[in-house]
Amino acid sequence: MIELIDDYYAYWFCFLLLTIGLYGVIVKRNLVKKVIGLSIFQSAIILFFIIAAYKDDSTVPILDPRIEVTNADAYINPLPHTLMLTAIVVGVATLGVAFALLIRIYGKYATLDEDTLMERMK
């Protein structure tokens, strides 16, 4: 039990963050807060990949003359980081589109509260 906490505490925090994001998306009635929840949710997944790439006693994946290239254990796996660069770009683009839609909605209905919006749309 202790090992589960000690070895994997980063994952626990990551999944806590994931849950907070999902909670925000589902429960909050304000559309901007939903977008914030969505952003937290995406960030948690990005952190998840970064945590997965981490190794004890290893360094950043930049060639160090003191460490041989063949000694792969001494370097952190760089692939998840590069994948997450793409995922961050995707997240930013999603945020942009979401805010563009919100501006359109606010311009027409003058509210961002879900309940009020539903009433005004009738």
Binding site: V25, L79, T86, V97, L101, R104, K108, Y109
Partner: protein, 495 residues
């Protein structure tokens, strides 16, 4: 030389078209439309060549940028993916050809961004189908989704609200997919589908990978609008620009269905996903529930586009049921239904676009006898497509349902047999309601003698609809050829 790169060209052409449209749009209002149609026509020809090559010579594997897989990204053209990418190009040509007047009327002055987003979405759809890399698929999934939000939410403010909800659902779905990819990468250290499949054949599927696949299937299910994850779909389809709906409805959910087929039967060992893990069983049950729920909700709708949207939920259920049956007939039924439903839904949504273009209301109660007189070809095409949705021979819809029935009988899944038969009756209820209004006079003398204004006078509005309706009959009569020549070669190992 260039022939060696045919695999990647369909994606490249679509993206190139998407970039070139804003640049050339100042030359004239007709230019974006012409570029979009020309691009998709070229891609259609390329894809047809590729399909012919793949069927005669075998699978093409293309290493993007010369980086060899499993490190680099590879595109895979096998019978399954080249069939789907050809379907994409074909539907795109017909719908874009039709879209000239509707898009200009519904989005005045904004056709260039509309066509640009359309080509971006089509390019990303092609990428999803062609890629052999799990993370690359995620990127294409998000490009397609973002372009789709622009396409669907660009019309009215009501469409923006519906699209915002779709964005929330879609992003959660894509994030689930990404989480699943992360777990699989942690478990196996590879992102290449063929490599992953080879590794899992040796190591077996550990619990970590099972969780990863569950996340992936849930995420794709959200994108596919699989019951009960379909809640975003009806509002989006009903409120969006008609050309946008006519493009997204036949293609968007089908691409997600393709991902499911790819993951369940090609990445995972088919025996594993059919017999050892309950993936296909769950998919079958959800599909059957979606068929009934979608059909019943479609009956309750008063608006034509909403009715068609709920009927999409039901039709996606058929495809999920076919995938979930996990036998040869089920697989053939699912793929054949993807093709048929793409043609039927495109035809029906184009008809609803024609009604809008003629200044008609989308309300089913407002339809009457006069419509048949003023739009005879549109009405006829609607009827053929509706008969195909119900599944009357010799239209195409009959044969895919027939294969699904055979598959259900082979599995002794009598509930599914009952669901398919009952849903055909429900389909008949909501489509005959419309057909009756179109063809039976209601004895209203004033309406009978009113002068007929022929609205079916623009070839670019009528010809695509009639073409799709004819295609449904041709596909129905020629279904043996489609199944033997195209679908049999794509059956996964172990079927």
């Amino acid at each position: 030389m260039i022939l060696g790169h045919l695999a990647v060209l369909s994606i490249v052409f679509f993206f190139f078209g998407a970039v070139i449209i804003p640049l050339v749009s100042r030359l004239g209002t007709w230019v974006p439309h012409a570029v979009a149609v020309a691009t998709s026509a070229i891609v259609f020809v390329i894809n047809a060549t590729n399909l012919g090559y793949v069927l005669s010579q075998g699978t093409i594997r293309y290493a993007v940028g010369g980086w060899q897989p499993p490190i680099g990204i590879e595109l895979v053209l096998d019978p399954l993916s080249s069939f789907f990418v050809l379907l994409l190009g074909g539907i795109a040509v017909v719908v874009l050809w039709h879209s000239r007047y509707p898009a200009a009327a519904e989005l005045p002055g904004r056709t260039a961004p509309f066509y640009s987003a359309t080509l971006l979405m089509l390019g990303a759809f092609s990428g999803i189908v062609l890629t052999g890399d799990l993370f690359n698929l995620y990127v294409f999934l998000e490009i397609a989704a973002l372009a789709g939000y622009a396409l669907l939410g660009g019309g009215s403010a009501r469409a923006a609200v519906a699209t915002f909800r779709y964005l929330i659902f879609g992003t959660i779905g894509a994030s689930f997919y990404l989480l699943g990819v992360g777990l699989i990468y942690m478990g196996t250290g590879t992102l290449n589908m063929a490599d992953l499949s080879a590794i899992m054949a040796v190591t077996g599927v550990e619990p970590l990978l099972v969780i990863g696949f569950v996340f992936i299937i849930t995420g794709v299910g959200l994108k596919m609008a699989l019951f009960p994850l379909h809640l975003w779909l009806p509002d989006v389809y009903a409120s969006a620009v008609s050309s946008g709906t006519a493009l997204v409805a036949p293609l968007g959910t089908k691409v997600a269905a393709y991902i499911l087929i790819r993951i369940l039967y090609f990445v995972l060992n088919p025996d594993l996903s059919r017999f050892q893990l309950p993936f296909t069983q769950v998919l079958g049950i959800l599909g059957a529930a979606g068929i009934i729920w979608g059909s019943i909700m479609a009956i309750a709708q008063k608006d034509m586009k909403r009715m068609l949207a709920y009927s999409s939920v039901a039709q996606i259920g058929y495809i999920a049921l076919g995938i979930g049956l996990g036998n040869t007939y089920g697989f053939i039924g699912a793929v054949l239904h993807t093709l048929n439903h793409a043609c039927m839904k495109a035809c029906l949504f184009l008809v609803s676009g024609n009604l809008l273009a003629a200044g008609r209301s989308q309300s089913i109660d407002a339809l009457d006898h006069s419509l048949r007189k003023s739009m005879p070809w549109t009405s006829l095409s609607f009827t053929i497509a509706a008969l195909s949705m119900i599944g009357l021979p010799p239209t195409a819809g009959f044969f895919s349902k027939w294969y699904l029935l055979l598959g259900s009988i082979e599995n002794s899944a009598w509930i599914y047999v009952l669901v398919i038969v009952a849903s055909s009756l429900l389909n008949a209820v909501y489509f005959f309601r419309v057909i009756e209004r179109l063809y039976l006079p209601r004895g209203d003398v004033a309406a009978e003698e009113a002068p007929v204004v022929v609205a079916d006078n623009r070839p670019s509005l009528v010809a695509p609809v009639v073409f799709l309706a004819l295609l449904l009959v041709v596909l129905g009569l020629g279904n043996v050829i489609v199944v033997r020549q195209l679908i049999q070669p794509m059956l996964p190992a172990g079927f």
